[in-house]
């Protein structure tokens, strides 16, 4: 059998996404236990290879691994030979030689997760590659939406902000479409990908035109340095045109959601108290992150079959 990976939502397709969401219901139950830990991946070793700082995602994976009783190895850029100029290939081969079952990798350059399988037999999870993909973020977003709106099929989801540089957007678009939602991308043309003809999405630079119709407003983080490169004239103007202000939240339809992958720039893409808005599920996204990553690890390293759920029992 060829090794499974989660490098892109494309590696999963609709059935893979559904399988992970189904697993997540079980792991959600586990997370409510007094001791939220199961021996499902006992004896497995998971390496976390983070070339970019990301405390949130790394902690989320690390927690997920611990709750599955897997061992985790941490390779962060500041504390390893990476800093001493060791090549990506040598680092991966070294980690692989230590005997790991999965490598969770985050890298500032696109495509790194695709290079790894030629150097290691371990399963690869993409925890973010440049502006390309961040599939576990998309999975936790799908799980969050499904939990609040029942299903994604037929829902209208608007992704707002710096689509061009967003790996979250690229993975989410694929996942949302795979589950039957329709997607509208909202951004000034400078922050919209050059060509989205084949993406199966609508695009607009008029935020106000989508607010009333959207079941989900998915706000992306605005990189503060974008104004220096003239993508937008100023963050103030961006906030006026594309920020989710209190007035805009009033125009949202009933039973709609506000989401954000974090970390937020309060006062830029969202007004200062949007996270606490009744429609906001931003805190749920974070909580679901651990559950989804447990599912992703189990999907790759576990038996992969729901008949083996006895192994989820307490030790």
């Amino acid at each position: 059998m060829t090794q499974k990976h989660i490098r892109s939502i494309d590696d999963l397709g609709q059935s893979g996404i559904e399988e992970i969401l189904a697993l997540s219901d079980h792991f959600h139950e586990v997370s409510t236990r007094r001791i939220p830990k199961v021996p499902a991946l006992r004896g497995k070793t998971i390496a976390l290879l983070f070339y970019e700082d990301s405390t949130r995602t790394r902690l989320s994976f690390e927690t997920a691994a611990k709750r599955l009783s897997a061992d985790s190895l941490n390779f962060s850029i500041g504390s390893s030979s990476v800093k001493k100029g060791e090549s990506l290939r040598d680092t991966v081969e070294t980690i692989s030689a230590m005997g790991v079952d999965a490598i969770v990798v985050r890298h500032g350059s696109v495509g790194v997760p695709w290079l790894l399988p030629s150097w290691t037999g371990a399963a690869v999870i993409n925890a973010g590659d440049g502006s390309h993909e961040h599939p576990t973020q998309a999975l936790l977003d799908c799980y969050t939406i499904r939990n609040h709106l029942g299903e994604l099929n037929g829902k209208k989801i608007s992704i707002v902000g710096d689509i061009k540089h967003s790996r979250v957007a690229r993975s989410n678009i694929k996942a949302f479409l795979a589950l039957g939602a329709s997607v509208t991308l909202v951004a000034p043309k400078t922050l919209m990908p050059f060509n989205t003809d084949d993406w199966g999405v609508d695009t607009t630079d008029q935020f106000d035109s989508v607010i009333e119709d959207s079941d989900v407003l998915y706000m992306l983080r605005m990189q503060l340095e974008r104004q220096q490169s003239s993508y937008v004239p100023s963050l103030r103007e961006y906030a006026n045109e594309y920020g989710l202000s209190d007035i805009r939240t009033q125009n949202m339809k009933p039973k709609s959601l506000i989401m954000h992958p974090g970390p937020m720039n309060r006062g830029v893409e969202v007004s200062s108290n949007v996270k606490e808005h009744p429609k906001s599920v931003i805190n749920n996204q974070v909580a679901n992150g651990v559950i989804i990553r447990m599912s992703a690890l189990y999907y790759l390293l576990g038996s992969g079959s729901e008949t083996k759920f006895e192994s989820f029992d307490d030790e």
Binding site: S87, L88, S109, V110, G111, W114, S131, H165, F194, N195
Partner: protein, 431 residues
């Protein structure tokens, strides 16, 4: 060197195409061309083409400052294996002949080569496009080609002055139109694929804009220009128009730009990272429709240490090796008669390089025997590890090609026999 008879081949040169034997004297000159020749050591080349040797206008061979990417020896082994009898060593960081002594040093080490090397100078100090280098002093070494990187972001004053000043010395300026002014971080063609992959794109128009500006300056000044690695149809149209208005301009295309399209980059393999970037299938078709407007096929051979190409796509350097795949890619992917392909590989670039007396041209008695013998129908699959270049990362890896060099003669000497480089120059430790 003893007399050598190439027997039974089909001779193709600038004057045409005929079945003939070629007799080469012990002085390395062609003695006679005709049917039923006798004498010397006989080499049966039945079913093969005997062409005037190939000339590559765009090759990086390393140099005194860089022995790790390639050496004069490994680079010219690669060249002769690909059928080249002469290559132009372009100025590229860190090997930049921007003064008379650095040019002389490069010419000096070029004596170790297996084929002729024409050293190109740099038209600006440090190849930075800002300050003109001493063109007169450098050309005193016989250097007539100068790499002139694109216009500096500060403006065209220096560019114009180089174009004007260079004419006294009969210099041809080599321009690569891949300025990053529209795409500082660009790493592939801008379009649907770059959008999907999240890789910063380089728009097609960036090349066309630069070609247009430089063409207009060529018309204004009367300078002689050669455009390197043209990759878009729009650029070709602009060049053709400037030519028809009297500009002294030539241009080249690289085999990867008419053979490989951007969809390969979805593998994230940096072997496909080249500059100008691989374009779309549609753009390649448009460029191929205009292929007869080109003056040369040049490889842009850009070796680097292998491990640099094994980095993440956006971190790896641009460039691919190309000397050993040019013929095979050209026959396989260009829908052109052989004599037209050989015009682009041999006699037209020989004229641009200013070596038409000894390379390319008409194969007639008295000329040095710079010849390439190849099987135009041989199908083979490219493998970087089989190549003579020090660099084993090629954009053509595992790609099927058609047309394979069996013998290369440089000044009458067989430097490649049955595809194997004959290292008579005392090949040292390559590593």
């Amino acid at each position: 060197m003893s007399e050598l008879l190439l027997q039974g081949g089909r001779v193709i040169d600038k004057s045409g195409d005929r079945l003939a034997d070629v007799l080469i004297g012990s002085d390395g000159l062609i003695t006679e061309i005709g049917k039923g020749l006798k004498g010397g050591k006989t080499l049966d080349v039945q079913g093969k083409i005997i062409s005037s040797g190939f000339v590559d206008l765009n090759v990086y061979l390393g140099g005194p400052e860089d022995q790790q990417s390639e050496t004069i020896l490994s680079g010219t082994e690669s060249a002769v294996k690909g059928g080249y009898t002469a290559v132009v060593a372009i100025a590229k960081d860190p090997v930049v002949a921007d003064n008379a002594s650095s040019a002389a040093a490069m010419i000096e080490i070029s004596q170790d080569a297996l084929c002729e090397i024409i050293v190109a100078g740099s038209a600006t100090l440090h190849n930075d496009a800002e300050t003109m280098s001493p063109l007169g002093e450098i050309s005193g070494n016989g250097v007539k080609l100068f790499s002139a990187s694109g216009p500096p972001l500060t403006g065209y004053q220096t560019t114009r002055r180089i174009m004007e000043y260079s004419q006294k010395y009969g210099i041809t300026l080599l321009y690569s139109c891949s300025n990053s002014f529209l795409s500082p971080k660009g790493a592939m063609n801008e379009g649907a694929v770059s959008s999907l992959l999240g890789i910063p794109g380089i728009p097609k128009v960036a090349e066309a804009i630069e070609v247009f500006q430089l063409s207009q300056l060529a018309l204004l000044t009367g300078a002689s220009l050669h455009f390197q690695q043209i990759s878009t149809a729009k650029s070709v149209e602009i060049i053709s128009e400037a030519k028809s208005n009297g500009a002294s301009i030539t241009c080249e295309i690289s085999p990867h730009h008419f053979s490989l399209d951007e969809s390969l980059i979805a593998s994230f393999d940096a072997r496909y990272k080249v500059l100008p970037p691989l374009r779309t299938k549609q753009e390649i078709a448009r460029v191929k429709d205009l292929i007869t407007s080109f003056d040369a096929i040049a490889t842009g051979h850009s070796p680097c240490q292998d491990h640099l190409k094994h980095q993440a796509y956006t971190d790896a350097p641009f460039g691919t090796i190309g000397l050993e795949t040019a013929l095979g890619a050209s026959i396989k992917n260009l829908d052109l008669p052989l004599n037209e392909i050989l015009r682009l590989l041999s006699w037209s670039p020989a004229e641009i390089a200013g070596i038409a007396e000894t390379h390319g041209g008409h194969l007639i008695p008295g000329r040095p025997a710079n010849l390439t013998v190849f099987d135009p129908d041989a199908a083979w699959v490219a493998k970087g590890t089989h190549m003579a270049s020090k660099c084993s990362v090629t954009a053509f890896e595992d790609i099927e090609l058609k047309g394979l060099v069996s013998h290369t003669l440089v000044d009458g000497e067989l430097v490649v026999i049955n595809g194997v480089v004959q290292d008579n120059k005392g090949k040292g430790d390559q590593n």
